[in-house]
Symmetry: C2
Subunit: 307 residues, 2 copies
């Protein structure tokens, strides 16, 4: 999957991923109206509106992008119906040739981590039959519990040729409360980064490891150091755009080969029609606004990482 | 909910919680046979077997225990059907008067954390209507992202009078890789514990905070220190029994009032019938074996914490 992701990035010349994090507030009124007309103001109605929203955005951008990153929390907040929309979104994205990064930030230990890995990347055995479940290509994982939490994910990744992005340095303001604490003169995130590099050695693709890292766009000086600590790990970079990360800050996240990072934008793409810059599209044409925002983002980022 | 939990602990004289973590391997053959006869070897069949297994254990233990802790990963590994069984388990446990701790170990930031909090503790707005979703009483949360990740959960907890258990020091062997790292002469878990105490001040019940901590039974010397750092936080203690934690190690997790901690056992209770000690019950009477294991656990723990 890391090879497929890199192929997609090269072919489309687009080191970006679109975050499918559909807040109901982002969904244009006409889609909500249609869904509520059919299902009422129910969880099913909300899930239908979100699914139609996602589908339109995927349809209008899939030829430009290598990957999408649905944020499961945005679906989980609508319970079972929301999770059905998550699953449909994953399936449809894969049908369109996209790599799917499930942003699930799970993390536990032993058989529990193995169960999450099964549910999201693997297959479960029921009697003599086996089934895939949510079946993303990559998932994000929290490292706080250490190797006992990560190893069961890596084991499933090896079986299924799938991958992880492990939280190292997150994009939010308070991420430093624990992640930046100094340990023998070095911040915790560097130590976590070293573990990611080590875990990654166990499951290599052609050029890069299947085991990547999450490093926020908002901390470029840290990104530079982490890039060196984890030379073979792909870095998933959240925080571009809406969270304040600028393209000019992104160069340090990439390797000399122009690879090694994939930059996420969620709201900036999927709710582009709400920005002044794209307002002329109108909410009816929200998916065209998203397409234009993708084109602009690719240009912005490729301009900044050109060497 | 923290008051309800403490009332339950006092009334039943049982500072314990039963972990409903149903591996399909734990489910007795006759239950699987019944479920597969009706639904085939399908995800629905697996979910039905798990639900019937849980229901029988709840029915045979609810009068003895204050709380259950379903581990969502064990349901999520069966996808949507598994999550339906999770929801049914939560609902049924609450009908039986039990406090439900959703062991979900979620953690993200901002609106994403808020979405998880909504999905598990709160209610979502769909047009003019609002709905509860998984609707646990407490959930476990991962602190790696700092205050930005915790605050949205606390906000929902305040609205709904619900609570959290935040991971501080986990029970697994590799938990020290990051959690024990020394920062200015103190381990990271102590610093996280201080934040938990601080976050907890914002949402107090009568005697204890709604915001508790997870500290593994396998590190009693650390439990002792953390007990002092977080005097008003309830401590959820995993790792008793199957993971090696002994009752004699548990006293430091409790306060002088005999309160302040709740000890979890999962496999040791729900798969008791597989232990030599309870083998005479037979797999047909697995729920009676679980009841006996609960009685024995309560005695074991109360004996150890008696002052």
């Amino acid at each position: 999957m890391i090879n497929k992701l890199i192929d997609g990035i090269k072919k489309k010349n687009a080191p970006i991923v679109v975050g499918l994090d559909p807040m109901l507030d982002y969904v244009p009124e006409h889609l909500k109206k249609e869904a509520f007309a059919e299902f009422g103001e129910t969880l099913e109605g909300a899930a239908e509106a979100i699914w139609n929203y996602n589908k339109a955005i995927i349809d209008s951008t899939y030829d430009l992008i290598p990957a999408v990153k649905p944020q499961i929390a945005m679906y989980e907040q609508f319970g079972i119906e929301g999770l059905k929309a998550f699953k449909k979104t994953v399936e449809y994205s894969k049908e369109k040739g996209l790599t799917v990064i499930g942003d699930i930030k799970r993390g536990d230990i032993g058989t529990t981590s193995a169960a999450y890995a099964t549910g999201h990347l693997g297959r479960v055995q029921v009697g003599s039959k086996s089934y895939t479940l949510f079946d993303e290509d990559f998932v994000t994982v929290n490292p706080y519990l250490g190797t006992d939490g990560i190893k069961p994910f890596v084991d499933v990744c090896k079986e299924e040729k799938k991958g992880l992005f492990i939280l190292v340095k997150t994009s939010n303001k308070s991420s430093g409360e624990f992640q930046d604490r100094m340990i023998d003169g070095r911040p915790l995130y560097e130590i976590v980064g070293e573990y990611v590099a080590k875990w990654g050695e166990e499951h290599m693709g052609s050029e890069y490891s299947y085991i990547g890292a999450v490093v926020g766009a908002t901390y470029p000086e840290m990104g530079k150091i982490l890039r060196k600590i984890m030379p073979k790990s792909y870095i998933l970079v959240p925080g571009y755009g809406a969270q304040g990360g600028k393209a000019s800050d992104l160069a340090p996240y990439f390797n000399e080969d122009g690879l090694g990072a994939i930059v996420n934008s969620s709201r900036g793409i999927i709710a582009a029609y709400k920005q002044e810059k794209y307002a002329s599209f109108g909410s009816e044409n929200f998916a065209d606004a998203s397409r234009q925002a993708v084109i602009d983002m690719i240009e912005d980022i490729n301009g900044a990482i050109k060497r």
